[in-house]
């Protein structure tokens, strides 16, 4: 049984990459955090060039600056709904870092945006949301342009 089934979430983790879908996810998460009430944290994983030839090529400072902007915007969205969220910036492969963070700070619910990639784009680019849902034991809410989908690790399905 997942932690949230039939229970009120006390820890909500919203994931953001700065996309409109992920900001919508922050709005949903902030709404839930306010109504339950729960602690809200917003996580952004800054991608790095994984096999650079120079240290400078990793562009850590650029990724940091961009990450802070994205988190600032997400925190502002949450604050506009009356929720003070803690923001967290991590670096590296998104799925690995998200799962890692959920072990450090185990949430009761993950809220994330999804772009609904299909076909070749999904094969080539993969889907962070699908991978996270597949590998976490925590319940997940997906927010996409057409609405909200819930996912429990027991259900084992994921919106396309």
């Amino acid at each position: 049984m997942t932690r949230t089934e039939g229970a009120t979430p006390h820890r909500i983790l919203a994931l953001t990459d700065g996309s409109p879908e992920s900001l919508a996810a922050v709005r949903v998460a902030a709404g839930l955090a306010k109504s339950t009430p729960s602690e809200l944290r917003i996580l952004h994983v800054a991608g790095l060039s994984e096999y650079p030839v120079l240290i400078a090529e990793a562009d850590v400072e650029v990724a940091d600056d961009r990450g802070q902007l994205i988190l600032g915007e997400a925190a502002h969205v949450a604050r506009s709904l009356g929720v003070d969220a803690e923001v967290v910036l991590r670096h590296g492969p998104a799925v690995t870092q998200i799962l890692r963070y959920t072990r450090e700070w185990p949430p009761d619910l993950i809220v994330m945006g999804t772009r609904g990639r299909t076909g070749a784009r999904r094969i080539l680019l993969g889907s962070v949301s699908a991978s996270v849902a597949r590998r976490t034991q925590v319940s997940v809410i997906f927010v996409h342009s057409t609405g909200v989908t819930t996912h429990s690790s027991r259900v084992g399905s994921h919106p396309s």
Binding site: R41, G47, L48, S49, E50, Y51, P52, V53, L54, I55, A56, E57, A58, V60, E86, V88, R90, H91, G92, P93, T96, Q97, R100, E104, W105, L124, L125
Partner: protein, 376 residues
């Protein structure tokens, strides 16, 4: 194929690699090599009779080496010299000796080709290690700084081995040694003074000055019967503080090198790979990969246990990564005829594998707990 056609193809492949890299998040350098392999093996692109491409590729490799040297933090290296030297030297010696012995005794490669294999597989990618340290929030911790310093020592070992193991010495070797010593002592203060007077003027004089100095040292190395990696790395190291103070000049140098010179280096490497050789040597590639990684573990784990005391498997995996210096050594071996195309194809494939596989294994199974300062 005429010169312009090949030039446009190489630059086009590099552009394609950058575009794909943006979408897929895969290294531009690895994609440039892969696209070079595809172009040579499946699209009929040939470098035969094109002497300018190896020259451009060589300049790209030398400038890349200079920039790698300029990223060394000498202050941190001095602070941890004992530990970083111990880990760095063992990280170089273990795989160098193991790969050399394996190539000579088991694969039956000749003496110099076996030495070259040892050098190419002895390397550690500082840049990849840095990224992995950033991911675990340890790049600014004492352990992170120690490991980066150790990587630089390993690469210095590679540069020394590449320069002196294959040398055909002549009287110019004394000129080279004098030039290296003089450049280490006098170039940093001279450049600091020149940069302060030349910066901001038209003509990009400081950038040309750096190019001229690095290429001049490369030319002297060539005259001395060796090659330019060592002087380029040492000048980079000597100028690291000055370049750090003049970030605008460093940025321009980096942009020019990464946008226009290193593509020749990496695409040229890919163009020289034979897919048939890779397929027929697949078993050798797998075994050489494990020889390198196994020897890195044998050298690094005991030293890491002594000087770091935790996450020794993760550290050994980090030190097992390789890309730039391994490609430089392999390309040097091919260009000078030390190794043939088949051996080059095998070595380069092992080098690329060591860029990817240890990284993936480290990220998937051995990521250490986050450093205290990276916790929220």
């Amino acid at each position: 194929m005429d010169e312009w056609t090949l030039l446009v193809i190489v630059v086009g492949l590099s552009l394609t690699a950058s575009l794909i890299s943006t979408k897929l998040g895969i290294s531009v350098a690895i994609l440039e090599i892969v696209l070079g392999i595809v172009a040579a093996n499946y699209l009929g692109v040939s470098t035969a009779g094109q002497s300018w491409l190896p020259l451009f590729a060589s300049v790209g490799g030398v400038m890349l080496t200079f920039l790698a040297g300029a990223e060394i933090d000498l202050v941190e290296m001095r602070k941890t010299w004992k530990a970083s030297f111990s880990i760095g030297i063992l990280s170089f010696l273990g795989p160098f000796l193991a790969a050399w012995a394996f190539a000579y005794l088991v694969l039956g490669w000749d003496w110099t080709a076996s030495l070259l294999a040892g050098v190419a597989l002895s390397t550690t990618s500082v840049a990849i290690v840095y990224v992995l340290l950033v991911e675990t929030g340890t790049s600014r911790t004492p352990t992170g700084k120690l490991l980066l310093s150790a990587c630089f020592i390993t690469d210095l070992g590679t540069a020394l081995a590449l320069s002196f193991l294959f040398i055909v010495p002549n009287e110019y070797i004394f000129v080279l040694i004098a030039a290296i010593v003089a450049s280490t002592l006098f170039v940093p203060p001279l450049f600091r003074w020149l940069f302060s007077h030349l910066k901001g003027r038209v003509g990009e004089t400081p950038v040309k000055l750096v190019f001229f100095t690095v290429l001049l040292m490369g030319g002297i190395a060539e005259l001395a019967g060796t090659q330019a990696v060592l002087p380029a790395y040492i000048i980079g190291l000597a100028l690291s503080a000055v370049m750090g103070e003049n970030r605008e000049i460093l940025l321009k140098l980096r942009s020019m090198t990464l946008a226009f010179l290193t593509p020749f280096f990496f695409v040229n490497a890919g163009l020289n790979v034979s897919v048939a050789a890779v397929l027929s040597g697949a078993g050798t590639i797998v075994v050489l990969f494990f020889v390198k990684v196994g020897a890195k573990f044998a050298g690094v784990v005991p030293a890491a246990r002594r000087f770091v005391g935790h996450d020794t498997v993760y550290i050994a995996l980090l030190m097992s990564t390789g890309l730039t210096f391994g490609t430089i050594a392999s390309t040097y071996g091919l260009t000078t005829g030390i190794i043939d195309q088949e051996q080059f194809s095998i070595l380069l494939t092992v080098v690329i594998s060591t860029a990817i596989l240890p990284t993936l294994i480290a990220q998937r199974w051995f990521l250490p707990a986050p450093a205290p300062e990276s916790l929220p």
